[in-house]
C-alpha cells in the first residue's frame, strides 16, 4: 500500500468529518480570494477608466487661458510625423434644456476637429459636428436626457484676452449662449469621457466644431489645448520631443504677442500683447538685452488733478528702458522729449493740452487718481502726487495714439460716451473738450512719467509693460525674444499626461489590501475553525495514531501522512473557495455598485480577475490552513503511544500531565499576554494618529497584539482554573468552569473564534462617524458656514459689496446678514474620498488666511510645529509663513492622510502657469471638514504662481438659519449664468461621512461573517462536547443531580467561553481604536457597541442553551448504556 493510497483511504473513510474542514478552508479562500479580486477589479477598472478618458493622448500642451495658434499644431506635426496632433479649444460652460429647467454645471465645451477623433480609444472616424450642432458625452446625455436631435443651450465662457482681474478688463460679458442640436452621443470608447484631470467621474462634455467655437468666442485660429499621441510606451519622452519641437516652432502669435510698426513712426517696431500687459517673463527676457529697447507702460487714470482743476479719464504713459537704466544716447530719436534724464525721477510731463486744462506750470504738484484691484477684486481708487517737470507739445513721440494699449471697451470706441471699460466711468464727467481730444488724438497720453514710476504705481501680477519699442536699425524685440524667451514661461509647454494618469489610477486606497486587512480576522477565524475541525478529527483518530506509532511509523512520518490528508482537504476547500471567491467578488462589486456605492463615488467597478491572484489566494489559504493544522496537531502527535491507544472515540484516556507542566504553561501564557499588551501599547504610543497608512497599520498591529495578549491571558486563566481546589468545586457553575478547562486548546480556539468576530464588529462600530450635530459651530467640520458653493465660471465681483451684488442683480434685502468667503481655484485632481485614485496634484484653493482665522473657522487635526507657530493667533496664519521655497498648505486630515498619502511637513510637486516646478508643503490639517479633496494655500501665493486664474469659483456662505432657503434661492437665481451650485455644508459633510460609513458598513458585513464563523465554532464545540459527554452528564444525573443543575453545569461551562470571547474581542478593539479616534470628531458610539456585544452574547447563549438541551436529552440509562 502506497502513502497516497493510505491518504485517499483515510480521506474517503473520514469524508463526513472532513466536510467541515473543507468548508472552513473554502470560507477562508472565498474571503481571501474575494478580497484580492476586489483589489484587482478596482485597480483594473480605474486603469481602464484612465485609459478611456485619455484615449490615444500621451502628452498635452495645456494653456488654460492662453490661446496659441492652431498653426502651431500643424508646424509641430512636421517635426513629429509619428504623432497625431490635435488642437482643441477647451472652455468652461453650463448646459441647459427646457428653458433652463434642467441644467448641468461644470460642462467642458470642446472645440475639436477630425484630428481629435483620431485619438479616440476606438477611432470611429467621427467628424466634428456641423455648425449649430454638438456632440455630447454619455454623462451629459444622461444628466439632461439628451438624445440625437434634442435642443441644447450651452452657456460658454467668453475668454478675455485681458485677464479678468486686470483693472481695465471687462467683467460683464463673461459668457455667451450657443444654441445647438445634439447630433450624437459619444460613447467612452469614442473619447466621450475625455478629460485631463484625474477623477473617477468623467466631466460633462459637449463637443463643437473647432472653427465654429473659435468664431463664437472670437478666437479664430486659436486653441488652448494641444493633444498629442504616438501610441508609444515612453510618453514622457514624447512630451520632451514635442517640447523641443515647440522651442523651435513657436511664434510670437503663439505667445499672444504681436509686432508692428506704429503709424507714423518710420521703421520703428513695437511689441504688444493680446493680453495688453506683456508677461513678466517677456519683460525679464528683454531686460538683459544689449540692444536699445524702450519700455512703455500706459495706464488709464481717472483724473489728473491740480487744485480745483481736474482732467478726467486720461492715458498716462510711463517710458524708459525695461532694464531700468538710462537710455543709450541717441538710441531713441525724438524720445528725449519725454524720457526723463534720470530714470528714477519721480516727476510728470504734461502735454500742452493737459497743462492748459489744469493751468499747470512746471513745478506744480498734480495728483493722479486711478483704480487698482483690491484683494477681493473690488476696485480701489488710489492716488499719487507728482511734480510737473515739464510740458510737452502734442507732437513727435508725444503725439502717438498707439501708446494706448488696446484696452477692451476703449480701443474701438469712436466717442468717449461709447467707452465701456472694465472700471466705473462717470460719463457725466466727460466734457466736450475731452470728446474733442478723443476725436483728434484718441488715446494719446496726456502725461508721461518715468517707467520706474509707472511700474511702481501700476504693475501687477499680469505684467508691467504694455509695449516695447525699438527704433529702426535695431533688432526688434520680437526677434530678440526668439532666442531669449522660453515658451514654457508663457505657458507653452508639453506635459506627459498618460504617465501621471496611469499613476493616479492606482487606487489611493488599495481595496485589495483594505479588504484583506479587515477580512484578516474573518480569514483567521475561518482558518482557526478549519484547524479546530481538523483537530477534532485527529483527536477522534488518536488511537489510529497510536497504532501507527506502535507498528513503527515515526512521528514525522505520521505527521506527514496527516498533513498530506490536510493538504488535500485544504486544496479542495481552497479550490472551491476560489470559485466561490469569484462569486463573492461579484457580490461585493454589486454592492459597490448599489448599496455600497458611496464607497467608490460613482466609479463603475467591473469584475476583473487575474489567474495569478486566484493562484495566490489558493496557495495562501492552503499554506495558512496547513500551518494552523500543524500547530493543532502538535499536541496530539506529542502524546505517547499508550496514551493514544487508550483514547476511545476522541475521549482521552488517562493523561499523566504533571502539575508543574501545567503551571509552567500558565506562566508562559501570562508572560506572552503581558508582552503582547505592552507591545500593542508601545505601538500606539509611538504612532502619529494622523500618520496615514502607518496609523492604520498601527491599528491592525496593536489590535492583533492586544488580541493575542487577551487570548494568552485566557490561556493563563484556563491553566489557573485547571488547578484543583483542595476543597473541590463549591458550586455547579464552578464545576462547569472546570469542565471548560478540561480541553484548554479546544476552549481557547472557541474563545479565539468568537473574539476575532467581536473584535472586528466592535472596531468597526467604534470608527463610525456620528451625524453632523453642531453644523452651526465655527469649529465644526462645516466651519460654521451654511452653504458650500462652486461655480463653473469665475465670479469677478465681491459678492459682499453692493456693487458686486448689483453685477448679479442680487437684492440687498435677500442677502441681508449674509457674508460670503470667496476662494480662488486652480483646477487639479480630486483628492477627496470620492476619488479612488491617487491624485498627484490636488486642486489648489486660494484663501485669505486672515478671513478664516478671524472667524475661527474649522478645527485643526494637526498643526506642524514650525518655528514661531506657537505665537500665531490661528494656524490659518501658517499659510502666510515663509518656508524658504515651498508654499504652505492646509488640507483635510482624511484627504491628506488617505488620498494624498502625506503627513505634516511633506510636500507635493506642482508646475505653475509658466512651467516652473514648485512645492506645496502641508503645514496643518483640518479635522473632518467640508474642504476634503483640496489643498488650501494663501490666495496671494496662488496668484503669484497662477496669475491668470481670475476671480473666485468656490464660496463659503454664512447665512441666517431662518432665511437659509431664501438666500440659497436668491444666490442660485442671481448666479445661474456662472453655474453656481450651492450645497448645504451639513449635507456635504454627511456625503463625505457616508463614504467612510459605507466602508464601515462593508466591514460590518465582514465582521458579521466573522461572528457567524465564531458562532459556528462555538456551536461545533458545544455540540462536540455535548456528544462526547452525554454519558458523563447522565452519570451526574444518576448520582442525584437534578436536570436543572446539569443544564446549569453545561450552560456555565460554555457561558464562560462565550464571556471570554466577548471580553477578548471587545477590549482589544476598543484599546486599539480609541487612541486613533482622537483626530476625528464625534464621540465613540458606546451604546451601539454595547448593543452589538449584547446581541452577540444573546446568540452565543442561544447556542449554549441548545447544546445544553442536547446534552441532557434522553434518559439516563440510555445515555449510560451508549457509553
Amino acid at each position: 500500500m502506497g502513502t497516497w493510497l493510505f491518504v485517499l483511504r483515510s480521506l474517503r473513510h473520514h469524508a463526513r468529518n472532513h466536510l467541515g474542514v473543507v468548508l472552513g478552508a473554502a470560507v477562508a479562500a472565498t474571503v481571501l480570494v474575494g478580497a484580492l479580486l476586489v483589489g484587482d477589479s478596482v485597480r483594473a477598472s480605474l486603469r481602464a477608466q484612465a485609459l478611456l478618458r485619455l484615449g490615444g493622448v500621451d502628452a498635452a500642451l495645456i494653456a488654460h487661458d492662453r490661446f496659441f495658434t492652431t498653426a502651431l499644431g500643424d508646424a509641430l506635426a512636421t517635426d513629429l510625423p509619428e504623432a497625431e496632433i490635435a488642437p482643441v479649444l477647451q472652455l468652461a460652460g453650463i448646459a441647459s434644456v427646457d428653458g433652463g429647467a434642467r441644467r448641468a454645471n461644470g460642462v467642458q465645451v470642446l472645440g475639436v476637429d477630425e484630428r481629435f477623433f483620431r485619438l479616440a480609444p476606438t477611432p470611429t472616424g467621427h467628424t466634428p459636428p456641423e455648425r449649430g450642432e454638438a456632440l455630447v458625452n454619455e454623462r451629459l446625455a444622461r444628466q439632461l436626457d439628451l438624445v440625437p436631435g434634442a435642443d441644447l443651450l450651452l452657456r460658454v465662457e467668453q475668454p478675455s484676452a485681458l485677464p479678468r482681474d486686470v483693472v481695465m478688463a471687462t467683467t460683464d460679458d463673461t459668457s455667451l449662449g450657443v444654441r445647438v442640436k445634439v447630433a450624437a452621443v459619444l460613447s467612452d470608447e469614442e473619447l466621450g469621457s475625455f478629460g485631463l484631470r484625474a477623477a473617477q467621474i468623467p466631466p460633462y462634455s459637449a463637443f463643437l466644431s473647432l472653427d465654429v467655437l473659435q468664431r463664437e468666442v472670437e478666437l479664430e485660429g486659436r486653441a488652448n489645448l494641444l493633444l498629442t499621441g504616438a501610441g508609444g510606451e515612453d510618453t514622457a519622452a514624447l512630451a520632451e520631443r514635442a517640447d523641443r519641437a515647440l522651442g523651435e516652432r513657436w511664434t510670437l502669435a503663439d505667445a499672444q504677442l504681436a509686432e508692428h510698426t506704429p503709424e507714423g513712426r518710420g521703421e520703428a517696431r513695437e511689441l504688444l500683447s493680446d493680453r495688453v500687459f506683456l508677461d513678466a517673463p517677456v519683460d525679464a527676457a528683454l531686460a538683459g538685452a544689449a540692444e536699445p529697447l524702450l519700455g512703455v507702460l500706459t495706464y488709464f487714470v481717472n483724473a489728473i488733478e491740480l487744485g480745483e482743476r481736474s482732467t478726467p479719464y486720461s492715458m498716462v504713459a510711463g517710458v524708459g528702458t525695461p532694464g531700468g537704466g538710462p537710455p543709450p544716447a541717441d538710441a531713441f530719436a525724438g524720445w528725449d522729449a519725454v524720457l526723463p534724464a534720470d530714470p528714477a525721477a519721480d516727476g510728470i510731463l504734461l502735454n500742452e493740452w493737459c497743462a492748459d486744462d489744469l493751468a499747470a506750470s512746471v513745478g506744480d504738484r498734480v495728483t493722479l487718481h486711478y483704480f487698482v484691484v483690491g484683494p477681493d477684486q473690488e476696485m480701489v481708487e488710489e492716488s499719487h502726487e507728482l511734480t510737473v517737470r515739464g510740458i510737452v507739445p502734442i507732437a513727435g513721440v508725444a503725439d502717438d495714439p498707439a501708446l494706448m494699449p488696446r484696452f477692451p471697451g476703449l480701443a474701438d470706441a469712436d466717442h468717449c460716451r461709447e467707452w465701456e471699460p472694465g472700471v466705473f466711468v462717470d460719463l457725466d464727467r466727460i466734457r466736450d473738450k475731452d470728446e474733442l481730444y478723443w476725436d483728434d488724438h484718441r488715446g494719446t497720453p496726456k502725461a508721461f512719467v518715468s517707467l520706474s514710476t509707472a511700474r511702481e504705481l501700476w504693475s501687477s501680477r499680469f505684467g508691467s509693460l504694455t509695449a516695447v519699442r525699438t527704433e529702426s536699425g535695431s533688432t526688434s524685440a520680437g526677434a530678440l525674444l526668439r532666442g531669449r524667451l522660453d515658451p514654457a514661461s508663457v505657458g507653452l509647454f508639453f506635459q506627459d499626461v498618460r504617465g501621471p494618469a496611469l499613476a493616479a489610477s492606482a487606487p489611493s486606497v488599495d481595496f485589495g489590501s483594505l479588504f484583506l486587512g479587515l477580512s484578516f480576522f474573518l480569514i483567521a477565524a475561518a482558518v482557526l475553525l478549519t484547524a479546530l475541525l481538523f483537530a477534532f478529527g485527529v483527536e477522534q483518530r488518536a488511537a489510529e495514531i497510536g497504532t501507527l506509532y506502535a507498528v513503527g511509523l515515526a512521528p514525522t512520518r505520521v505527521r506527514g501522512l496527516f498533513l498530506r490528508e490536510a493538504a488535500v482537504l485544504a486544496l479542495v476547500g481552497a479550490g472551491a473557495g476560489a470559485l466561490l471567491g469569484t462569486l463573492y467578488t461579484r457580490a461585493v462589486l454589486r454592492g459597490l455598485g448599489g448599496l455600497w456605492s458611496g464607497a467608490v463615488g460613482s466609479a463603475e467597478i467591473a469584475y476583473h480577475a487575474r489567474p495569478a491572484t486566484l493562484a495566490v489566494g489558493v496557495a495562501a489559504t492552503v499554506a495558512t490552513a496547513l500551518l494552523a493544522i500543524v500547530w493543532t496537531l502538535r499536541g496530539t502527535l506529542r502524546r505517547t503511544t499508550p496514551e493514544l491507544l487508550a483514547t476511545s472515540g476522541g475521549v482521552q484516556g488517562p493523561q499523566r500531565t504533571a502539575e508543574a507542566g501545567r503551571a509552567a504553561r500558565g506562566l508562559r501564557a501570562a508572560i506572552i499576554a503581558l508582552a503582547a499588551a505592552a507591545g500593542g501599547a508601545l505601538l500606539l504610543l509611538t504612532t502619529d494618529p494622523s500618520g496615514g497608512p502607518a496609523a492604520a497599520g498601527s491599528f491592525f498591529g496593536a489590535g492583533a497584539l492586544f488580541l493575542i495578549g487577551a487570548l494568552a491571558a485566557t490561556r493563563a486563566l484556563l491553566a489557573r482554573l485547571a488547578r484543583p481546589a483542595a476543597e473541590g468545586s463549591r458550586s455547579v457553575a464552578g464545576l462547569g468552569a472546570r469542565n471548560a478547562v478540561r480541553r484548554p486548546g479546544r476552549s481557547l480556539a472557541t474563545v479565539a473564534l468568537l473574539a476575532a468576530g467581536v473584535f472586528l464588529v466592535v472596531a468597526v462600530q467604534a470608527n463610525r462617524l456620528t451625524p453632523v450635530r453642531d453644523a452651526a459651530e465655527r469649529g465644526a467640520g462645516t466651519g460654521g458656514f451654511r452653504f458650500f458653493g462652486s461655480s463653473t465660471l469665475a465670479v469677478l465681483h465681491d459678492l459682499n459689496t453692493p456693487d458686486g451684488r448689483d453685477a448679479f442683480a442680487l437684492d440687498d434685502e435677500d442677502l441681508e446678514g449674509v457674508s460670503i468667503v470667496g476662494l480662488r481655484v486652480r483646477d487639479g485632481d480630486d483628492a477627496s474620498c470620492l476619488n479612488l485614485g491617487s491624485p498627484a496634484r490636488p486642486r489648489l484653493v486660494g484663501v485669505a488666511p486672515a478671513k478664516l482665522a478671524e472667524r475661527g473657522a474649522f478645527s485643526f487635526a494637526r498643526v506642524d510645529e514650525l518655528p514661531g507657530a506657537d505665537e500665531l493667533a490661528s494656524p490659518w496664519s501658517l499659510l502666510d509663513a515663509d518656508l524658504g521655497g515651498p508654499i504652505p498648505a492646509i488640507g483635510d486630515q482624511a484627504s491628506v492622510q488617505w488620498t494624498m498619502k502625506k503627513g505634516l511637513g511633506e510636500t507635493l510637486d506642482y508646475v505653475d502657469e509658466r512651467g516652473a516646478r514648485f512645492e506645496v508643503q502641508i503645514v496643518a490639517t483640518l479635522a473632518d471638514s467640508i474642504l476634503q479633496g483640496d489643498l488650501l494655500v494663501a490666495e496671494d501665493a496662488l496668484k503669484r504662481r497662477f496669475p491668470s486664474e481670475s476671480g473666485q469659483r468656490l464660496f463659503l456662505v454664512d447665512a441666517p438659519a431662518e432665511r437659509a432657503d431664501d438666500v440659497a434661492q436668491a444666490l442660485g437665481r442671481g448666479l445661474r449664468d456662472v453655474g453656481l451650485e450651492l450645497t448645504p455644508t451639513a449635507e456635504r459633510l454627511e456625503a463625505f461621512h457616508a463614504v467612510q460609513n459605507t466602508y464601515l458598513a462593508i466591514f460590518q458585513v465582514l465582521g458579521g461573517l466573522g461572528l457567524l464563523l465564531g458562532s459556528a465554532g462555538l456551536a461545533v464545540v458545544v455540540l462536540r462536547n455535548a456528544l462526547e459527554r452525554r454519558a458523563e452528564l447522565a452519570a451526574l444525573r444518576a448520582l442525584g443531580f437534578a436536570p436543572r443543575a446539569v443544564r446549569w453545569l453545561v450552560l456555565s461551562e460554555h457561558g464562560l467561553l462565550l464571556a471570554l470571547g466577548l471580553v477578548c474581542g471587545t477590549l482589544p478593539a476598543l484599546a486599539a481604536v480609541l487612541p486613533l479616534r482622537g483626530t476625528q470628531q464625534g464621540g465613540t458610539p458606546l451604546a451601539t457597541i454595547l448593543a452589538f456585544v449584547g446581541a452577540i452574547a444573546a446568540v452565543g447563549l442561544l447556542w449554549a442553551w441548545l447544546a445544553t438541551l442536547l446534552a441532557t436529552r434522553g434518559g439516563v440509562t440510555a445515555a449510560l448504556r451508549n457509553d
Binding site: M1, E544, Y549, A554, T640, R656, T657, E659
Partner: protein
C-alpha cells in the same frame, strides 16, 4: 539474549497533588530468542507497563530496558520507531485496526514506515507475505474487507498478522484474547503458538487468560511491582 529488563523501576508523576505512584519496582526479565512468556497478574499490577517498556513505548524511571543488548532509552524516537517497525510486533487487546483500510491494507500499514524508500521488490515481497499470512490465518477470502465488516476474532487475527509482517524477532501481545469469546480466543491462542513455532518469533503476552498463559513456555506473575515465576499449578 533478545530482550531484557534490568532492575526496572517505573513511577508516574503525581497527579493532582497526590503522591508519586510506583508501578514497577525493580523488575528483571530476560527474553531469549524464540521463547514464549506469559505475564499474569491482577489489573493495575503494571503488566501493560512492562510490555510498553519492552517495546520502547515507555522508558523506565530507573534501570534499563534492552533489546539485542542496546538500551532502548538511549534511542531517539526515529530509531525506536524503526526498531518497532523491523524487529518488534505489537498486538493489543483492542485490535486497533485502521477502519479506513481493508484487512490486507491494515497488514501492510507497517510498510508505510519506509515511505518512498521502499524498493518495488520489497513492496511486492511484503504484499506476498501479507496475502500468505492472511490466508494462513483463514482470512484469504476476506482480504478486501474492512474492520467494520469483520468479526472481533477476525480483526484480532488481522492485527496479529500485521504484527508479523516484517518477521519480527519479538511479538509483544497485550491481552490479545481479552475481548474475544472462548472459541475465538482459543483459535487465536493456537495461532500464536503455531506462529511462534513456525516463525521462530519470541512471544511475550500479557494475559488474564489461564488457558493462553498455559500454552506459553514460561509464566511470570507481576505482583507489588515485582516479577516472579508463577507457581506450578496442580
Amino acid at each position: 539474549m533478545l530482550a531484557s529488563l534490568e532492575s526496572v523501576v517505573r513511577r508516574y508523576p503525581r497527579v493532582e497533588g497526590g503522591e508519586e505512584h510506583t508501578v514497577l519496582d525493580g523488575v528483571d526479565l530476560a527474553v531469549e530468542a524464540g521463547e514464549s512468556i506469559a505475564i499474569v497478574g491482577p489489573s493495575g499490577s503494571g503488566k501493560t507497563t512492562l510490555l510498553h517498556l519492552l517495546g520502547g513505548l515507555e522508558h523506565p524511571t530507573a534501570g534499563r530496558a534492552l533489546f539485542e543488548g542496546e538500551d532502548l532509552a538511549a534511542k531517539d524516537a526515529r530509531a525506536l520507531a524503526a526498531l518497532r517497525n523491523e524487529k518488534l510486533g505489537l498486538v493489543f487487546q483492542a485490535h486497533h485496526l485502521l477502519p479506513q483500510c481493508s484487512a490486507l491494507e491494515n497488514v501492510l500499514v507497517p510498510t508505510l514506515a519506509r515511505g518512498r524508500r521502499r524498493a518495488a521488490a520489497e513492496r511486492d515481497a511484503a504484499l506476498k507475505r501479507a496475502r500468505t499470512l492472511l490466508e494462513r490465518v483463514g482470512l484469504g477470502p476476506r482480504l478486501a474487507h474492512r474492520p467494520g465488516q469483520l468479526s472481533g476474532g477476525e480483526c484480532q487475527r488481522v492485527a496479529v498478522v500485521r504484527a508479523l509482517i516484517h518477521r519480527p524477532r519479538l511479538v509483544l501481545a497485550d491481552e490479545p484474547t481479552g475481548s474475544l469469546d472462548g472459541r475465538a480466543a482459543e483459535a487465536l491462542a493456537d495461532l500464536f503458538c503455531e506462529l511462534n513455532n513456525e516463525e521462530g518469533t519470541a512471544l511475550v503476552t500479557v494475559t488474564h487468560s489461564p488457558d493462553l498463559a498455559a500454552r506459553m513456555g514460561r509464566v511470570l506473575r507481576l505482583r507489588d511491582g515485582r516479577l516472579a515465576p508463577e507457581a506450578a499449578r496442580a
